[in-house]
Symmetry: C2
Subunit: 752 residues, 2 copies
């Protein structure tokens, strides 16, 4: 803002609660510069100091400063207002699309497109302004004894009095707060001002999204596919990051331009890490609408949620390698190992903090009767979840990762202790927060394409990045699926693999990581490429997902137990008849028409069950041998432990610790068992605990009664969730399905 | 933070996602300084610029800066974490208190007390630190051509390279951002750092509280007592502000100390304005728990919600008078008139913006079928409500006032259009937000008593302030009640007056206004006095409210229609028997025992209905003359207009605009009437719209059928809400109550 703009009228401008000459001035200033949001936020917290000295000795400068503070407050409000209106518009359009069953464009895609339009308007209709800066030097003899520049500068500035010049000269001292290094001293001043602060994403936008992802995870399918999910998320993402990094580095070095000289291998590795995580939001919105096959859903959700966590830690480790461990920039073994240990320790410690806080909340809700006051209970739940994020950040871990695992634990344990009211409330609150945050970030991606001043378009790099992103995803999906299929019983069919490949949209995390650091040209080029990849994948791939699902014959229309059962029966009947292509090919791109759509097109999809190497690892309890190969070892071990110790400790579930702990621990066990736990009816409880079946086998016919009181460990939760392996296996008979019908009708999937 | 503290280890400290040497350093720095929250928030948005230049040429300074940014992030997380834990602790204790039916301390009082304890711990256990500042001057010849100091200063600082001294000297340029004036150059540097930013209250904490107050207002009682509420809120608050201001000024001038010289009349007036608004939170939490008489509830809630709005505008006008309009500080007529017009125009414009946005939301939800997707609907609702605040702030109006009236409109119109799911969700979300914000602010009031560095204790001033606050409240309540009682039919009994006086707790708004400006000694003295008054009234008065309610024999145990009916019958029976003191004096301080408690103790409470001057203003429709004096003119006019035009336009209510508008407007009316509106059953609708009775008369016996189709205007909502004038009137007969029982059982009060 050039100070010449401030006409004499402004001197009389009042603080922001006063309504004077509204709407006239702001247009001449940075009215529409959305990327100034950050600096506006800064002003939001910084404005207060600008108020006047008491009494009536206001100088010209005081009044002008006051006016400027008011103006800044207005600009900040307007900036936010534009985004809020944009979101409201998106909401209305989403409704319109849903109302008319438009399936070729989804809500996140819509948010991006609206963002692009508004961004273009702002770019070409708004005016810009520059910050005035002044070069200063220390007063007197400079003493640079410290390693750090001072926190604040005090600057004496002569102000002239309003009433003529009574005093000869009045000098005010103003404080200036440290902000950061100016990298390009010759460049336009706008740079400093317009740097969008990515920390807003990491501290405000991402946490609710990630927490909700964990909280709404359908745990049974998640745990059932745990091995595959972990492989895809951890191995796959790392692999993809390094491959993309290597590829990009090679390609960039072949480019004739300036990039090839300044682009380091670490830069491309960082790019690999940030472009590898896939986005859960869009694709799952689509999957949810279509009620796609639950196992595919679990794979995609589990992977994309976890690889966000992996990517943020990985990119941190790569950044650190460059900044702290490596002194030369070349490969160094010690630096590499330190980064590697960072990666694992931060990931695991964040996971543990998140899980611990989740369990703590479960204990709190179990051993108090706070559930009698749902509002208090919900407040406690929200506060504990938020404190997980803060705790992780305060201990220099990754809050986003902690919040993810906290969400999973909250859903797995705490949720069962909550009152009905709190369950609803917490679900609804986080659903709404997630929706708003998600749409905000995608709107912002669109807007920033036009308004963010640090974009750096480089066609070669962008094309290479697109190709590399696709290759990276392919490398993630196909070889790992092949590897997994060696041991995995319900194989991942090739159609599923194609869908997994196609579901690799890039989204919020990639963008947030890319915009976190835009100091150098290389980083700016990366940001531009990332933004474009995100926009392309969300709009185009997201829009096409529907058609591809049809084309690949992925079962859709699968939702809760009952519907699944239907589907299942159809599936089983179908399987018992014919293994060739189904006749239900008549599609029209419509939504929710697919109850008859089956996945039986390929052979790998219909493998006969083979007793794999895991088949005999039946755990301690008897009578659970058959079909146990359907569960991964990991899932089984965890499931056993969970049912025997964790659930009894943290929830009101049966069996109690009195039954599962050794006799010597009885006093402690008694202490940790609530009366409610002892007195409740087993079957009644089962209705509440919808994910108790993560540790069950499919053997329902051999006398494990539903009433688990006094039975062996691990048996209390047998009997539910059997009919949900649809389309990944055909090993269950139709009559078994019938036999299950009555049981399943008991189970209401309380969550989601 | 003294830079000498940074030991060589720090050079290797990594960004905040890295977990290294955790927990060792922060204690030596500003670990516990909660008042640094603001500057931490500043760092939250400012940290990003501190990241390193790309490549590996990190200097000592770069690394130290990086470490410092990380440290600041951790401190900020810790600060917030302390508050979140404090809130969680409060929640658990509240539960414990509720569980054991402790009534002598309420949740807000609890939050304050915990805040005090934590504040004391922080004060005496934590360490403090100072910001390093450096005096600078312009490089070269200074040119002070502008009225304003520059936005940023660029400061060249020599940094030393890590690897020995390869280069002779490397100089970085750092940017410093304008922050504010340094008022006391000689004082400790901590001052600048520790100024808590009140804008956080005004932009983040207060809006959800105030919105929820509007959204949860029981509108029928609010509108029924509109005249009294407006009188108390607007006239009363202004009167009280000026009286307190005058009193304080006189008292302070009598004090021998330095205050008397610097304390201006405007200062004391400002104090009067900020101490006048009463707090709705605590007292209403108590009233809610006890289900106190609805009319008293409406009076207290309506008054305290509105006087918050009045006070914020009033204090703004007073501030403006001093700063902009008055050049001498003495009384000036023009300046006074300008302030006065500011006051009214800002209040009314804010009100209109709020109401307009509420109505816009109502239109959106009425004419779209967005209700088919509750999540979208809730999102739209939240976004529109938030944009009201932003819109008002962007146009230099008062966002808090706008949000209040938006909330009222949302509850009055939009709520009726929402789907059941959205109703629940929005209620629950805002309830939770309100709860958290409210407890946060009271915790903070407690904490800041110890940690805020700008407290200024002055025993004389504090005692005077306490006395003045009480006098101001008395002047507000008693004379105005007397005035109102002249015309008012259901008189405000003297017991109710005592309770109104006693319910004058001071709270969030007073504190926020006091902490907004703490530049001068006088303002700091005011802050201290205000904090103490808030703490005292919330803890002591809030705790004693229960006993006083018993002692004054205010009816409690009144809640929704059914219970009210019970109460009502008892009341009527009682009234028909005896007007002397009731025999139900046996109390025990217990909660919810009061269904038999009556208000019949005093004469003024039991006035026989007299046809007041309003008695014949029956509106356009016939058959509504008797008892119409029970409604204020204002409420009646508004009610008529509301039923005839606003509700039909904005909701799906009957009668439709087709019936209420003149025939010539039929085409427009048809356009604005939905099919749902035309086809629905009148009685079915009534069940939904719980506050349709704001415009009814009490005459139910004269043939106005429930089916309002085709009937005259204003009759569609007759028949509900009749039995709710309990304890303020005795004019309804027992058999009438019986006659109403069946109707009332139809009505479910959907809201709250």
């Amino acid at each position: 803002m050039s100070h010449g703009d401030v006409d004499p009228e402004v001197e009389m401008t009042s603080p922001h609660w006063m309504h004077r000459d509204a709407g006239s001035r702001p247009r001449t200033h940075t009215f529409w510069r959305l990327e100034r949001w950050r600096s506006s936020m800064l002003l939001l917290v910084g404005v207060a100091l600008c108020d006047l000295a008491p009494g009536c000795s206001a100088t010209d400068t005081d009044i002008a400063l006051d006016a400027k503070a008011t103006l800044n407050h207005r600009i900040q409000s307007l900036d936010l207002l534009v985004f809020v209106f944009l979101l409201a518009l998106t909401v209305l359009t989403i409704w319109l699309f849903k109302h008319h069953r438009v399936s070729w464009l989804h809500e996140t895609g819509l948010a991006v497109i609206y963002g692009l339009i508004v961004g273009a308007i702002i770019r070409y209709a708004g005016t810009s302004a520059t910050l005035v800066h002044m070069q200063v030097e220390p007063q007197g003899v400079p003493t640079y004894s410290d390693k750090l520049p001072p926190d604040t500068l005090w600057f004496r500035y002569p102000v002239n009095q309003t009433n003529g010049t009574k005093q000869p000269e009045l000098v005010h001292t103003y404080a200036y707060v440290f902000r950061g290094q100016v990298h390009d001293v010759d460049e336009n001043e706008i740079d400093l001002k317009a740097t969008f602060d990515p920390e807003v994403f990491f501290n405000i936008i991402l946490p609710p999204i990630i927490f909700y992802a964990g909280y709404s995870l359908k745990k049974k399918y998640f745990f059932r596919n745990l091995g595959a999910i972990l492989t895809f998320a951890i191995v796959g993402t790392t692999l993809s990051a390094f491959l993309i990094g290597g590829f990009m580095y090679g390609c960039v070095k072949l480019m004739p331009k300036y990039l090839s000289s300044s682009f380091t291998f670490l830069d491309s590795l960082y790019f690999g890490a940030l472009i590898s995580p896939t986005d859960p939001l869009t694709i799952l919105a689509i999957f949810n609408d279509l009620r796609v096959d639950v196992n595919l859903y679990a794979l995609v959700l589990g992977e994309s949620v976890l690889n966000d966590a992996v990517a943020i830690v990985l990119s941190g480790a790569i950044q650190n390698y460059g900044e702290h461990y490596s002194s030369t920039g070349e490969f160094e073994t010690t630096a590499f190992l330190r980064s590697l240990s960072d990666f694992f320790s931060i990931f695991l410690l964040s996971l543990m903090i998140g899980a611990a806080m989740g369990c703590l909340t479960a204990l709190m809700t179990k051993f108090t009767r706070v559930r009698d006051f749902p509002l208090l209970e919900s407040a406690l739940f929200v506060l504990m979840s938020y404190s997980t994020f803060l705790l992780a950040e305060a201990t220099e871990l990754t809050g986003v990762v902690a919040v993810l695992f906290c969400g999973i634990c909250q859903a797995h344990y705490t949720y069962n202790n909550l009152s009905e009211d709190s369950r609803q409330r917490t679900k609804q609150i986080f659903e709404l927060l997630n929706f708003l945050a998600e749409n905000f970030i995608f709107s912002y991606i669109g807007v920033s394409m036009f308004t963010f001043p640090k974009h750096h378009f480089d066609a070669g790099f962008i094309i290479t990045a697109f190709i590399c992103a696709a290759i990276g995803r392919a490398v993630n999906v196909y070889p790992l699926s092949w590897l997994l299929n060696i041991k995995r019983k319900p194989k991942i069919s090739s159609n599923f693999q194609h869908m997994l490949f196609f579901a690799g949209l890039r989204g919020a995390m990639s963008f947030a990581l890319a915009i976190r650091n835009t100091v150098s040209d290389e980083r700016q080029t990366m940001l531009t490429a990332t933004s474009l990849i995100v926009i392309f994948t969300v709009v185009i791939q997201g829009g096409a997902a529907n058609f591809l699902l049809n084309w690949l014959k992925i079962p859709v229309g699968v939702d809760d137990e009952t519907e699944q059962l239907n589907n299942y029966q159809v599936h089983s009947v179908y399987n018992s008849m014919d293994n060739s292509h189904p006749q239900t090919d008549v599609e029209g791109g419509g939504v929710n028409r697919g109850k008859m759509r089956l996945s039986g097109g390929t052979d790998s999809n219909l493998d006969t069950p083979v007793d794999g190497p895991n088949g005999s690892l039946g755990g301690a309890s008897g009578g659970r041998r058959r079909n146990s190969h359907e569960k991964a070892i990991l899932a089984r071990i965890w499931g056993n432990f969970d049912t025997k110790y964790m659930k009894p400790l943290l929830t009101h579930s049966r069996p109690t610790l009195l039954e599962t702990l050794p006799v010597c621990c009885n006093p402690i066990a008694r202490l940790l068992t609530t009366t409610q736990q002892l007195t409740q009816d087993g079957s009644e409880f089962r209705r509440v605990d919808s994910d108790s079946d993560i540790c069950i086998d499919n053997d329902t016919g051999n006398g494990l009664s539903q009433d688990a009181t006094g039975a062996g460990p691990g048996t209390g939760t047998v009997g539910v969730g059997v009919g949900r392996r649809n389309s990944l296996s055909r090993s269950v008979q139709l009559n078994e399905a019938h036999h299950l019908a009555s049981e399943i009708s008991l189970v209401t999937n309380n969550f989601m």
